[in-house]
Symmetry: D2
Subunit: 359 residues, 4 copies
């Protein structure tokens, strides 16, 4: 009820502040008997890790995961899996000047209002660092999904107004992880990277659009009328910091289509019912159709920019001008890809595990 848990059948509870002792997650509901090692989780964490390229923050964190419970002789027990990552490269000094001054576009101001106090160091609980717990839990969700032949693929489709061309699942699988910006269109990727660097040099940041596709999703997932598959995906994705919009299939473009363009007609192919188009994005009436699930999120430019900004000292109640130093991502899109994948995986694994059998 207090916001730090997600899911029902596969329920995760995350905890930790950016500059506290550690961050972690407890996963309740992972089925027993799953082969699981720290290395598998580490692999996903490394995709989210800071300090790996010159378009991400310079904070250096090994983000080494430690498994504390729920696994015995290399397999899950069905009991809660607790894991954590210790914070190491913590430099809180640059944050001291913001103890009483909320940074524009950040949660500083609202946390202070809601809780009456906050850990101002590195954004505290509102830091993007919180998402490592999502990625760790998502790694386990992905493994369960993979055993049911569900594959989750994320990539950047737009940064700073530069749009990648449409790519097939095969292209996505082959190219996205090879580029610094996680864009499967290598040519666009280069221009995106340049745009990020240019923005950084100007003390600016840029936003973009990230897409996640899920292939092999079994039909029938989703619980109308409120816990629809698309509704849960919308919540899951919008809960990632910096996300300002979520869409499925044709998304906002659907507002401009006509009924005959939007409707995916059905036909029989090799004894199965299929649709030629997928404007629905894999969901009808809140239930998966069996076609690829396609969702996109709008990511705002990182609020931490070097340019001077106006804010307020909450103690003295005076206007001030601030300049944010420290280590920040000029564009968060590439690092949001594994986080968005994790959230999609968490939604799917929940529906998969709680799907009631028919009588």
């Amino acid at each position: 009820m207090s916001g730090n848990s997600f899911g029902t059948a596969f329920r995760i509870t995350t905890w930790g502040e950016s500059h506290g002792a550690a961050l972690g997650v407890v996963i309740d509901g992972c089925p027993a008997g799953l082969v699981l090692s720290a290395a598998e989780i580490q692999r996903e964490l490394n995709r989210r890790k800071p300090g790996v390229s010159d378009v991400t923050t310079a904070r250096k964190e090994a983000d080494e995961v430690q498994l504390l419970s729920g696994i015995f002789e290399g397999k899950t027990l069905g009991t809660p899996i607790s894991l954590l990552v210790w914070n190491k490269d913590v430099n809180s000094s640059t944050y001291e000047s913001f103890k009483h001054i909320p940074r524009p576009g950040q949660a500083d101001y609202t946390y202070q209002l809601k809780y009456g106090r906050r850990d101002h160091r590195g954004g505290g609980r509102a830091s993007g660092r919180e998402t490592l717990a999502r990625v760790a839990a998502g790694a386990i969700a992905k493994k369960i999904l993979a055993q049911h032949s569900v594959e989750i693929l994320g990539h950047v489709v737009e940064i700073a107004g530069i749009r990648a061309r449409e790519v097939s699942a095969a292209e996505l699988r082959d190219h996205a992880e090879r580029t610094t910006v996680r864009c499967a269109d290598p040519e666009a990727a280069k221009r995106m990277e340049a745009a990020i660097k240019a923005a950084k040099e100007e003390g600016e940041s840029v936003g973009g659009i990230v897409e996640v596709r899920a292939l092999g999703v079994p039909p029938g997932l989703g619980d109308p009328v409120f816990d629809k598959l698309d509704a849960e995906l919308a919540k899951a994705l919008m809960s990632i910091g910096a996300v300002k919009g979520v869409e499925l299939g044709a998304g906002f473009e659907a507002a401009r289509l006509r009924g005959s363009e939007m409707n995916d007609e059905l036909f029989v192919h090799a004894g199965r019912i299929m649709t030629r188009t997928n404007t629905a994005g894999g969901v009808l009436g809140g239930i998966s159709t069996g076609a690829p699930l396609i969702c996109r999120i709008a990511v705002k430019p990182t609020p931490s920019i070097a340019k001077p900004q106006r804010s307020v000292n909450m103690t003295t109640m005076q206007d001030v001008e601030i300049q944010i130093t420290g280590r920040h991502d000029p564009c968060i899109c590439p690092r949001i890809v594994p986080v968005a994948e994790a959230m999609v995986a968490l939604v799917l694994v929940n529906f998969l595990l709680r799907n009631p059998p028919r009588i």
Copy 2:
């Protein structure tokens, strides 16, 4: 867990099929002592009611609400409020031909897959008629919010590619309900209406964008990191049939802004901290800022169109061509406005009532 409940502190459970005996909702958690009459709920239901203009379906339903519990001597008891609307103008004959043939763009196919059976008459549980329960519960939520000076205003901002100009809250309040399409820009409203009629004559349907604003929202609502205010709004709005996208504040436009354009700078005005801009849309870090909450949804064109479409007979497994007759909205946007308002109200009243006191 099975999808027909929404909310925690103010929890609603809806039930009913389009052509069944009745539809209704049970509201658990409405505080005791609220003055409440059926007439107040009826007023909101009438805004959603079919058959009121030539751009909506011709189905005639009085949709008269009946209160069954939870109210005594004109005030709520704090016990569950049960209310229902009997189905009357039911004509199931036009649906018989679709018993085995899923209509494209509808939930027919996925319901059949998920449940192994469905009430095919009028879309059954997946019918838009389900939303009357949301509107009825939303009417109570709005009343509670109004007592806390929160106002919910919905309107159509785009239909068939025709965009309304930006309007102030005052304009919205004055004009939106006066036009058939619920658009606060009277000039655009006329063109939208014409576009809907033109589409209808061609056997087509059109989509659009609906915006909901909430004014007077107290700061501090929302429970990071998963149950963020914007995340809950995204779920609530995406759970409405026909919605393919949700955005807050700058929304998808944020992907093209630079950090300095996106960040709402803070300043002190008359002893209070404010922002001049509101690209955030009233939420930072998942917590309300106190600025107006602004969200928009992409509404797809109604799938029920008169044009011939290709589908499949699920029993014979043969391709077929179908033609949908019956009474349908050529554009659902105007009638979605009160539904979207209801969902926003339900999200807000939940956070308002469960907001834990500080120590």
Copy 3:
């Protein structure tokens, strides 16, 4: 969150006041495809119905159930099942004198404190009449359980200090429903009946102990460490008005046993692992063992007695003496039997339906 729902996978939400328009329940999560008729639910409701013998209240209610949704062509749809019973034989006049005077042992005083107001007629929401919704939902739960070979058997084992002898499941099945007091020991049943009548003549009421057994429960139900099978049963049974204690297996007697007496030793019989004794009552570590589930509840004497009692006028804040007239059960035990069975069935069906598959 507000107390009127029970369960997760098979979630019921009940509503209604004793002298309001109606009482009912919405069941969310009943699997699709279950053959279900109103008559089957009616059969269970009739077991709880008032006015059927001279040891129960004289209120005459047909308690005729009306099904409003979730069923189509005689089978469940997987959508919410809404059902209600209209209140008919309502005589609120005898309650007027208690509008400001809480009756001892009743919820009058606490409802007034909690909600600031209450429907004082017939106990309002706190009336035992609320349990008809539990019994109706329980009838559906029992049907699902029966399809999994689980049988629920309830009976009275003690009234007014008169204890029935131990009975086998066969005796229980054959005799309990044939006696007015629902006791499977016919000889004890007669003495219980006499004791109830004697108490009634003195303007008194008596309590007793009700036992529910569940046969055929599959092993593995229950979710440690908090949602243990016995923990959920304890909650479910203690939530019935008038229940002051719950025990499983040896129950309170376990406090006086030695380890070697309490432990059920295991042995192999015909290729299966079994225990000779069942002091555990069918649960170990919060998980069903496969042995019969045995639970008992302590039922207090009905608080509504004819004898004069002292209370307080909450408006004038003066001590008063009251005398309760009206129609009341001198012993609620026989009518609690179907309610307790229903609660056990609801707990079991939830675990059955949400039991996650192994990897």
Copy 4:
């Protein structure tokens, strides 16, 4: 949904196996601004700690708590509090012989059935050691309750059939913690201690009854009709391993009382409404009355006894005789006292924090 969380507003999620790396708990929903130190939690953990007297197990664990998140500058942040205790004095060798042989009266058999595997070392997740996480979370709950003038007092009232005399709250406060067995009647305490030692020498174990009282509970807590205060207490207490029964106020004795004996009459005293008796145990209609809350649990004798017992080898499916060595409590009652207090505190703090304001 998977059993390792408890509560709504103040929600705890526990994790860890007896011989794993560590055990811990995440608390979500602790209000911001609470002064909190590890020492305060440690104090309660020390009350539950093993190895402190000759009537408890000889396992030596410092059980030193480590706080990982949610606290900043000595006060809670309103974000999740994560804490853990590392396992140190682990000796798994004595458990090797039970890898395939379930110990009678233990959860070995049911865990194996439910999950298909288990951590057999020290009982794994089913170990009583799990309760340290409850006690740690309960320490925080107690602190919040103390700020609302609620006091929780637990004590042993019966062991091995030896019953303590009735004690006042003052006696309980003064004496219970001074005796090895946590019984506030020093004379009975001596006899209990002797009975435990005698049982231990015979290779046996004994059970008993533990009572928890909560003083100063504000009236109005509890959410009828399912989430009644007594129902939640029943679940909370029954979820503790070894508990076979729960009762409130008169409890099972209520089954033998007459209405006039059971009903607590009301009267006006110094301008307030009170009752002279408290057979209700502080709850009417599932809502607290303001009188002391009184609940008792039946604790079975510890299943781990030195006497030879018959069991089964699950791999060979052969009957075997076993003898349990290792370090075990001959009577768990004294160490259950802080656990039961913690569960009562957790129930109360949840109702306190989620209690909705009246309109």
